[in-house]
Amino acid sequence: MPGSSARPASEVNGSDAAGRLVRPFTLIGGRTRPSRADFTLLTLVTAVEPQPDGGKRPQPEHARILRLCARPVVVAELAAHLDLPVSVVVIMLCDLLEAGRITAQAPRQISRTTDMGLLQKVRDGLGRL
């Protein structure tokens, strides 16, 4: 940690050598915290089509995520399919978002006390089960 903090943020995506030495966190470049807190279990993730040209080739796990989210899929399902902890998946999603390879849509903000229309839709849907 000491020393690396002096590096400008713009270099973080480049040679992240120090981080990659930390074995358990190889997949996520040594970071343990997402750079974007807005990935929740229900954030909807979709691969950008077509994928942007150039840039680094995605790592195998990143490529797997891109295949899994060719159609919109929520973070919780991605983590289950990848058999990885949500916290690890979120960090990889941050990488993909930064690289412009995915889009992320936060779940709709709900207001329990006022959103009668939404509640009615949920009820109607349950009634059809």
Partner: protein, 201 residues
């Protein structure tokens, strides 16, 4: 709505909502999720982080390997625009730090009760009451047997009168659906009571 509605490869992305299925260990949460889910319940496992260790009393845990919290969940596509996720929340009290994250943005919760050991669900009831998260109580009758009526159970749990208590069978799709509908009805009743006086979200 118009203009800001995100579309993905031409398909509008659906809205997602979630309901928590809570209760003590082995009370039937995952069974309930599986009964109504259109997919086989999925599981994610999260290592207990340092943050979790700080909160939790892990004295009782003797296993040397890393402790994980398993989270089971299912999905119900309610319509083309709306998908409901059901999260079976980890039962043990020491996973409360995870409940906090799960509770954010949830419509409400179902607290499942095993009549043979209702005390195992006290923590869940307490959690939702303290945070003002609306919930209904589902009494999961094992082998479909219900020795007590809803009122007896409400009284023994010291639940307020407005908290619905439903006898259910976690193995039955219809029964679980009815519990979920009871929760939505409770939410709608609360919304109607609030009238239009707070449209500030």
């Amino acid at each position: 709505m118009a203009g800001s509605d995100p579309t993905v490869n031409g398909t509008p992305a659906p809205d997602t909502v979630k309901i928590l299925i809570a209760g003590g260990f082995g009370v039937g949460k995952t069974t309930m999720v599986g009964s109504v889910s259109e997919i086989v319940p999925l599981r994610t496992e999260e290592p207990l982080t340092a943050a979790g260790l700080g909160i939790d009393d892990l004295d009782g845990i003797e296993e040397k390997k890393a402790t994980t919290v398993a989270l089971d969940f299912g999905r119900i596509t309610l319509s083309q625009e709306l998908v409901l996720y059901l999260f079976g929340t980890p039962g043990q009290q020491r996973f409360w730090f995870m409940w906090n994250d799960l509770a954010i943005g949830a419509l409400g919760a179902v607290v499942l009760i095993d009549v043979r050991r209702p005390e195992s669900s006290f923590a869940a009831i307490d959690f939702f009451e303290r945070r003002d998260i609306p919930f209904v109580v589902g009494v999961n009758g094992f082998h479909g047997e219900h020795p007590y009526g809803p009122d007896e159970i409400r009284e023994s749990l010291a639940l307020p009168e407005h908290t619905p208590v439903l006898l259910c069978d976690a193995r039955s799709r219809e029964s679980c659906r009815d519990v979920l509908i009871a929760l939505i009805d409770r939410l709608m009743a609360a919304a109607a009571q609030d009238g239009g006086n707070a449209h500030t979200a």
